[in-house]
Amino acid sequence: MKQYIARRLLLMIPLIFGVVSIVFVVLNILPGDVAASIATQGEEEPDPAQIEAIRTALGLDRPLHQQYWDWLSGAARLDFGDSLVTGQSVMDDVRRRLPVTIQLGIMSLIIAWAIALPVGILSAVRQDSWMDYVGRSFAILGLAMPTFWVGILIILMLSRYFNWIPPLGYVGFFDDPSSNLKQFIFPSLALGWALSATKARMIRSTMLEVLREDFITTARAKGLREFVVINRHALKNAMIPVITLFGFNIGLLIGGSVLIEQIFTLPGIGRFLVTGLNSRDFPVIQGVVLLIVVGYAFVNLFVDLLYGLLDPRIRYA
């Protein structure tokens, strides 16, 4: 296991380097002129002197290799400069907003599992029954309905039929748990449902496979109760491939939270990014994108290690 961890950690170095470099290339080298687009307000042609000033302020007039080096070293120190709009350090803002996005993510994942496990298991155990069809339709619908539309529908429904919208203005969980949960439960439901769809489908198909294995027949033959057979013997083995979905899920979660935070006005990382995009706040965009991308790489590493821990075959492959 130690060797496996060491190898995975070593592989992270070129990966992080590659990811950081791609962000640099996309934001700095692609044809679009960031300084010009920052200077452009409305329909007016921007003033060339102003563009030049912005370029100098952002350090975009320096040679590329120097910019690249500064970008790498800044990234290593987690220093992304100050916002062009508020003048505050990007990192401070990120630190303040991170708990919101993390809470949203955790709650969505909990909801996703709470939906996917029973739906997936029931679908497999009662294959081709009405439960199976309902469960599968539910999952298919969760895949097809855009998360942000589900969010909009939830808000519309709450405000039209219950005359209630989640309290505005973020409150920390430890300051006021009840209004914090009121804020988070609906966005988490919207995201969690979308995430549950792939999980439920995968649990169903791996369960179906495992249930046909000999050791399940053995377990039944020795007189174990069906509940134990399903939950102890079958589920444990069926879950291994489902765990790989975790990384993929985090990717969906990140994209989804950008949209959902926007709809439910939650002051998280995703909303920070959208605000930055709308005001063309380059340091904010650069910093947030980099953090998301690097954070995502580490989550995937964690999933791989977990996978190796659960399934010895992976470690020695």
Partner: protein
């Protein structure tokens, strides 16, 4: 001579008839896949005949018609600028299909050719190329797309580019691994022994044998591509307004309690389209790759 011609024609007819009964079989065995195919047909029809189906100009503003609820004149009601939502939905199918098909075409074809060369040549080209693919795959899709559109500017074609870059690495991976297995086959050795060039071996011998996974990836990516376009447009980073993109229409309908139909029609259209393409992709995968059947 004449009999030969007739024989050819009869053979052709028989093949056409075979195709028909195959379609029938598809509908019976894969009802969901057939439903998906139907959605695609309807969408293509709407996109081609959009001006005939929806006579009203999707961009015409009308102060007198703001927030009209669905009625005989405005099937899906009107939006906050008095534009006819039905007409915007119908014309919006053009944007969804254009972005969906073009980005999938560019992404999968580019990724496939790159993967084919990468798997065939190996060596440093493969090593460096695959690390770049690793990095691309290690980014959340929507974030990568947002970055690219922000950098290049929000136009319809840049949205296509951003989405195709998201599809590129997965097509590349699949075709590369397919190429690795196929190139060890004997008929490839035989072709080489007969003096075929590398290009000929790659494109005439290996590519046709890697076509099934290519098709699977392409159809599976369609629904996702349409969804990504909608998400980008919703965030204001997609097809620029006032073009009737379904995702953009949803951002207009965000909090309009008094006009819920603004949020309903575009969402239903999106859901149907994504559902249809996903189901069609699943069915096609089952047919082309029996190993994955029922997954």
């Amino acid at each position: 001579m004449a009999t030969g011609e007739v024989a050819v024609r009869v053979h052709g007819l028989r093949r056409a008839a075979g195709g028909l009964s195959a379609t029938g079989r598809l509908f019976r065995r894969k009802p969901l896949g057939a439903a998906g195919f139907l959605v695609l047909v309807v969408m293509v029809f709407l996109a081609i005949f959009a001006p005939l189906v929806a006579q009203e100009d999707p961009l015409r503003l009308s102060a007198a018609d703001i927030f009209k609820s669905p009625s005989g004149t405005h099937f899906f009601g009107t939006d906050n600028f008095g534009r006819d939502i039905f007409s915007r939905i119908v014309h919006g199918s053009r944007i969804s299909l254009y972005v969906g098909f073009l980005s999938v075409l560019i992404g999968t074809t580019g990724g496939a050719i790159f993967g084919l060369i990468s798997g065939y040549r190996m060596g440093p080209f493969d090593l460096v190329g695959q690390r770049v693919m690793d990095a691309l795959l290690a980014m959340p899709g929507l974030i990568l797309a947002i970055m690219i559109v922000f950098s290049l500017g929000a136009t319809q074609f840049n949205v296509v580019l951003a989405i195709s870059i998201n599809i590129f690495p997965s097509a590349n991976r699949v075709l590369r691994s397919q190429c690795l297995t196929v190139k060890e086959r004997q008929y490839v050795d035989a072709a080489r022994a007969m003096g075929a060039s590398d290009q000929r071996i790659m494109f005439r011998h290996i590519l046709p044998n890697a076509l099934a996974p290519y098709l699977i990836i392409a159809t599976a990516a369609l629904g996702g591509a349409i969804l990504t376009e909608a998400s980008l447009s919703f965030l204001g980073l997609g097809v620029p307004p006032p073009a009737p993109s379904w995702g953009g229409m949803l951002s207009g309908g965000l909090y309009v309690r008094e006009a819920p139909w603004m949020a309903l029609a575009p969402g239903i259209a999106l859901t149907l389209a994504v559902f249809g393409f996903n189901m069609m992709g699943d069915a096609l995968r089952d047919i082309l790759d029996p190993r994955l059947r029922g997954r």
